[in-house]
């Protein structure tokens, strides 16, 4: 078994109004950052997982995301996996 660090980024699905993101975007515009747009707020989850290889680690974390960590009705998630020392 190897050890992996999984980094999960969760954001609201694109078709859902992200009210927090919009509010921050408006605040940025009033600070004259008119070049910034499409601000999205999300969650970041980090976890360790033991698996035989990175593929099975990814599979397992994807399953956990669909079951609990994210709500697929409203959220998208991206997972990155990297091997770590024990």
């Amino acid at each position: 078994m190897k050890s992996f660090l999984a980094k999960v980024n969760i954001t609201l699905r694109k078709n859902i109004l992200d009210v927090q993101g919009k509010t921050i975007e408006h605040a940025l515009h009033s600070l004259e950052y008119s070049d910034i747009s499409h601000v999205r707020i999300g969650k970041y989850v980090e976890l360790n997982i033991k698996a035989t290889d990175s593929g099975s680690a990814l599979k397992r974390v994807t399953e956990a995301c669909n079951k609990l960590i994210a709500n697929p009705i409203i959220e998208d998630f991206k997972i990155s996996i990297e091997e770590t020392a024990e």
């Binding site: 859902i16 109004l17 009210v19 927090q20 509010t23 609990l68 960590i69 709500n71 009705i73 409203i74």
Partner: protein, 230 residues
């Protein structure tokens, strides 16, 4: 008939729900600790009360949905018995898949605690049968995540099968933008399952079920449940 009120760590409307259920059932109510692996066989209606189960960590209701008793609540609902989820209870019902959709952050990003008017849109349910369609109930809301959302095909199905039981209305009973406190699609305040035995609603009928509190509009919902059972 007997009510069972589930208590999760962080539930805070369980006592109000117990009181309301007791009023209509001659005291025939009991608390069900969330770690229980079973629901007593004499319980006829389970209430998932409001509150902040597991501190609303991750998402409202997401962790409570995996409490041991929830498997039993799902089986209980599938057997056709009555389940009502109020506020956080509604959020737990959507997380568990017993009701479709989900509850997003209120669109003004504020926690809202105030009285609202609910228009009863479907009285052919075990939870509203003693109320007339179009009647208004004054009921308090108290939530930060009550903005009902589902994909448009789900909304279409809810609309066409008359499963939207309550909508936020104004004092004259009009369903308008100004009467929508949280951004819910189509002013949805409460929906029912396809089979008609599981109700989820964001407003708190248990907080307005005793006239000593100045309003008992919520009692009609508890009365309906008992009447249907009998």
């Amino acid at each position: 008939m007997k009510f069972g009120i589930v208590v999760f760590p962080g539930s805070n409307c369980d006592h109000d729900a117990f009181h309301s259920a007791s009023l209509v059932s001659n005291g025939n109510a009991e608390y069900l600790w969330h770690k229980n692996g079973s629901i007593p066989s004499d319980v006829d209606c389970v209430i998932l009360p409001g509150g902040f189960s597991y501190g609303d960590y991750l998402r409202c209701g997401a962790i409570a949905r995996f409490s041991p008793i929830m498997n039993e609540v799902i089986n209980f609902a599938k057997s056709g018995k009555y389940v009502i989820g109020i506020c956080n209870g509604f959020q737990i019902l959507t997380e568990s898949g017993l009701l479709p959709g989900t509850l997003l952050r209120n669109n003004n990003l504020k926690f809202i605690c105030k009285d609202v008017f609910l228009k009863v849109e479907n009285n052919k349910t075990p939870f509203t049968s003693t109320i007339k369609n179009g009647d208004l109930l004054r009921i308090p809301i108290a939530h930060g995540d009550g903005n009902y959302f589902a994909d448009s095909d789900v909304i279409d199905e809810l609309e066409s099968s008359n499963r939207i039981v309550f909508r936020y209305a104004n004092e004259s009973g009009e369903i308008v933008m100004n009467s929508n406190p949280n951004g819910s699609i189509n002013n949805i305040a409460g929906i029912i399952s396809k089979e008609g035995n599981v109700l989820g609603m964001m407003p708190h009928p248990e907080r307005y079920s005793d006239s000593i509190l100045g309003c008992n509009d919520g009692l009609a919902i508890f009365n309906s449940i008992v009447e249907n059972f009998n």
